[in-house]
């Protein structure tokens, strides 16, 4: 049942030009950055060869690429998640789901999986780019995988936050703007930590970014994984509760 909903969501996305445009723009942008980092590596190569324990090709090309991809997707995810519930609410198609023999949890999970599957498609395009380097040399597959895992968890959090914001309103644009604001805030929350003021540490800990960076460095810490899983599950639970509340009050 969840997959039926997810499949419908994906299908609707590909029936509008939106999905194709987003895929094209993101792969274009990421390809540009990829080439840029390769160029940078080629310039640095003579100096790197001279220094002992120098960062390898993966650290110079792949890690910055994944980092840039996260920023680009931070801008794009709100556009993908904005219509999830709010458009159904505006077109009053939500009652189709509400009168069908499915639970709210299934609706929310279906919606989440639908948009997450699309984001994974984007991610696949980005992830295979560094693999082209294998043709001419070696890359650190462990670092690549760890960065990719970080990106997957990060994007899943983006999607779940976007989904929750989308349940709050009937206007997709409002959902998009609110999601973008929220994501950006959570992204830069660690800046407060760098000022050294009191409580900065806590804020820094809550930042989406500060849990992504270790993974980019190849440090796999269960704390970071659990942090992301907590963000995802609490947003999904909140979405279910919000939809349930629809039936109670108006």
């Amino acid at each position: 049942m969840i997959f039926t909903l997810a499949a419908r969501e994906l299908r609707s996305m590909f029936l509008s030009p939106m999905a194709w445009v987003i895929l094209a723009v993101i792969s274009g942008l990421c390809a540009y950055f990829f080439l840029l980092y390769i160029e940078l590596y080629l310039q640095l190569q003579p100096r790197l060869a001279a220094t002992p324990n120098a960062p390898g090709v993966t650290s110079v090309i792949v890690v910055p690429l994944f980092s840039t991809a996260a920023t680009v997707l931070l801008l794009v995810t709100p556009l993908l998640t904005m219509r999830l519930i709010s458009e159904e609410r505006r077109n009053q198609t939500l009652s189709l789901l509400m009168s069908a023999p499915i639970s709210m949890t299934e609706i929310v999970l279906g919606k989440f999986l639908g948009v997450f599957a699309f984001v994974m498609l984007i991610l696949m395009l980005v992830a295979v780019m560094p693999l082209s380097l294998l043709a001419g040399g070696e890359i650190d597959m462990g670092l690549w995988a760890s960065g990719l895992l970080g990106l997957v968890l990060l994007l899943a959090s983006f999607c779940s936050i976007g989904l929750y914001v989308s349940t709050l309103t009937a206007q997709p644009t409002v959902a998009a703007v609110a999601t973008f604001g929220l994501l950006l805030l959570l992204w830069v929350l660690n800046l407060a930590g760098s000022t050294g003021s009191e409580g900065g540490g806590v804020l820094s800990y809550l930042s989406l970014l500060s849990h992504y960076q270790p993974l980019l460095k190849g440090i796999f810490s269960s704390t970071d994984i659990i942090y992301y899983l907590l963000v995802i599950s609490s947003c999904l639970v909140l979405s279910v509760r919000r939809l349930d509340a629809d039936r109670l009050q108006h």
Binding site: M1, T4, L5, R8, R11, S12, L15, S16, N91, Q92, T93, L94, S95, L96, L97, M98, S99, A100, P101, I102, S103, R247, L248, Q249, H250
Partner: protein, 326 residues
Amino acid sequence: MTNDILIKVEELTRYYGVQTGARPAVDNISFEVRRGEVLGFLGPNGAGKSTTMRMITGNLSPSHGRITINGIDILDQPKKAKADIGFLPELPPLYRELTVDEYLQFCARLNRISRDKQTNAIGTAKERCGLSDVGKRLIANLSKGYQQRVGIAQAIIHSPAVVVLDEPTVGLDPIQIREIRHLIRELSNEHSVILSTHILPEVQATCDRVQIINQGRLVLSDSIEGLIQRMQTSSLRLRTKNQINNNILLAIEGVVAVSVIDEDCVQIKHKPETNPAASIAKITVEQGWELLELTPDRRSLEEIFVDITTAEHTADEQIEKTEAAA
């Protein structure tokens, strides 16, 4: 069994907003619908029709009361109860970017129709709603009438025991309205149907039973025969080519009063237990008035409707007045 009760609504109440003392949108409504019955829900705008229907279909939780669908409480076992319901809201819930076939397939899956039966179910629903030719077309490109039909197809695709239609003929042309009414009558062979409308002839054309709801309260619940009986009045209308002599008419057994409507037409009031139509016809011929028309007067459904809904009003006002006086 053809007499089993499919929908049972008990003391249903729904408040909007949280302020206490506010008038509920639906106030203590109870009723039952049997298998094979078409129940018409009538009422002015904002009377609480849609709220009631949305509660029956699980889109809205009631503040008080119980709803049982086919013996299953919708609050206790929502999934199981909802499997027996097909709902067409006021605005058909369509994904406009899908084709009719894709949309119906999604609905079939949503209602857990097993894979091998899906094609069959979709085919049947399309055939019944006259959609066989438009399966490959985008819903967005269909006319309003066809979109409405897709909405109905969606509601009956899983052959639910109960079909709830909220104003199914709004925005359709007269031919389409006739087709939809025909479809509703057909549905009632196997399903129970509740439909809401504020178009009165629709009720006469399709329903077995009528409930009039006003300001959240059930003010009338009657069979369609009962309603027709209410429409009968004890008066006749006589139209002739030549001038009528009222005194001759008044002399007829059972006639109470004769009032002139225009030059060649009179209204004849008679005692309710007698029907003097035969004698009137005979005398008209004897007198050489040349009969053009002799019909029983009927109150329209509109008049009954207005009577009932305004009677409530005046009763309320009288209570308020007496309260003010005291």
